[in-house]
Symmetry: C2
Subunit: 324 residues, 2 copies
Amino acid sequence: MQEKLLDILHKNKGKYVFHEELASNLDISPEEVETNIDKLKELGYQFDFSSNLGYRLKESSTLLLPFEIKRDLETKYIGREIHYFSEVDSTNNMAKKLAEKGAEEGTMVIAETQSRGRGRRGKKWISPEGGIWMSTILRPHIPPADAPKLTLMTGVAVAKTLKKEFGLDVGIKWPNDILIGNKKVCGILTEANAKFNTVDYVVVGIGIDANVDTKIFPSEVVHLATSLKKELEEEIDRVKLVQSLSKIFEETYEEFKSGNFPDILNDWRNLSTTIGSYVEVRKRLGKIVRGEAIGITNTGALILELDDNTLRKVISGECIHIEK
Amino acid sequence: MQEKLLDILHKNKGKYVFHEELASNLDISPEEVETNIDKLKELGYQFDFSSNLGYRLKESSTLLLPFEIKRDLETKYIGREIHYFSEVDSTNNMAKKLAEKGAEEGTMVIAETQSRGRGRRGKKWISPEGGIWMSTILRPHIPPADAPKLTLMTGVAVAKTLKKEFGLDVGIKWPNDILIGNKKVCGILTEANAKFNTVDYVVVGIGIDANVDTKIFPSEVVHLATSLKKELEEEIDRVKLVQSLSKIFEETYEEFKSGNFPDILNDWRNLSTTIGSYVEVRKRLGKIVRGEAIGITNTGALILELDDNTLRKVISGECIHIEK
């Protein structure tokens, strides 16, 4: 009902709609119109009201409400089904549960905050209000070996979206951090579930420090992380960003499905600030490898040229761009 | 307390232990000894009692109680931590939840029944009382591409265990059914969770129709499935089977971790009744491939020689052994 009421006010954007007109269009009583307006106010919507003219939508909610996202969503299946939460332990965990129960490709989980957000390598991921914490279920028919390609693909989609929407000079740090300058603004955590030699589902988690106040970051990460709000010096429209990202994500995924991964990997190479940098990769058990990052394989391994000119393939690890 | 009480009675197997001796050994009152004996009776234990001699253990419970399994368990880490349930939706689902929370390698989930047991390709798996429904968490440091190897490895471990314990002529049907004759007695469902290009954890689900009454099978599977009880014409000791399987499973997994997968794959080839058979593989979308199964690759793909003598690699599908 609130959704329908909003639809009418949206269609009449900038114009007042008579109280009685709303009631008759929605087939409810004038009192019920009031009740629904009040509920919408609680979600953060603002209205102008005149006893002669009726209601006018003044400001939309800044929440990532599914019906706001879906209103102008230009996708075929990504984000067509959205599970929305004020708070959830982790959107990836929730998406995995839904995937186990048979949720369709494109199903999305979005939360305003995460109480137990996770990064790669089991790291905690701080997920305060103002950020975008979303996970999307994909069901590609690929072997488990191809799952890392979806991580690279997602990095490309996010970087392209931030460039397009805000003209930001974003870069990708191997394997999947999105940076502005040398500070992280977005993390990606893809989790693939494979049964024998076929992927059953992949959950693509994207965490963007959108309208996050960087002052709340713990001191140890404050020089490593930024937010869109900080970089742009204003709050961004999170709903529009999710819509735009969903569209570009779907386009990139369609490219992947049609077999054009080499093109996506080329985009990754061009967007990556790791390729061409001197890097240090911290592997498990405290092992460290240093060298110039000169390439990436199509399963996401980084190729380093070590100081003795030998080549080294690095499968995974924590990568730091350093001055030589 | 019940565990300690049992330990004492087990150590004195066949002999009576004075009521007062039990009480003082356990540092509880004689009334509390009674209470604990009663609780154990509820779990299916049977005792002889004499007011002069005390208690004697007559029959152990037939349930898969963790402390019974652990008592004579000869493993280093497999099954050292057991989460036990009378009923659970699916032991694999529960194990995945525990793995997400950081459960260690070897952690096991065992249930007497599953309400939503799953097989490969999303099939329902009937899991009544008397069966063995268990899932084990592994944390191998391998790329996602190697995950299918653990399915093959598990098939080898189960087949070897059933041969050793019961002298049964078991065979493996590609990729992971354990058969007696041409009837299935055990199914395996491995699920790998990979983050980027490293496996985070693998859940190895094993379902054995141990003391299952085959009369309860639905008519459409009754000619395709059997149970150990049916084949051996007597109930088996499920606790002993879990212990033996855990040991052989750990040995095989250690072999895998030390890089001896080729040897395991050779065992698989020898145990497999698929290799050398004329088979039909039903793939997605109703596609069918027929041919003689002549080999398996080290990522678990089946190699078929088709009727026109061309070779065909089959990644996944439902395999049926047929008469040519």
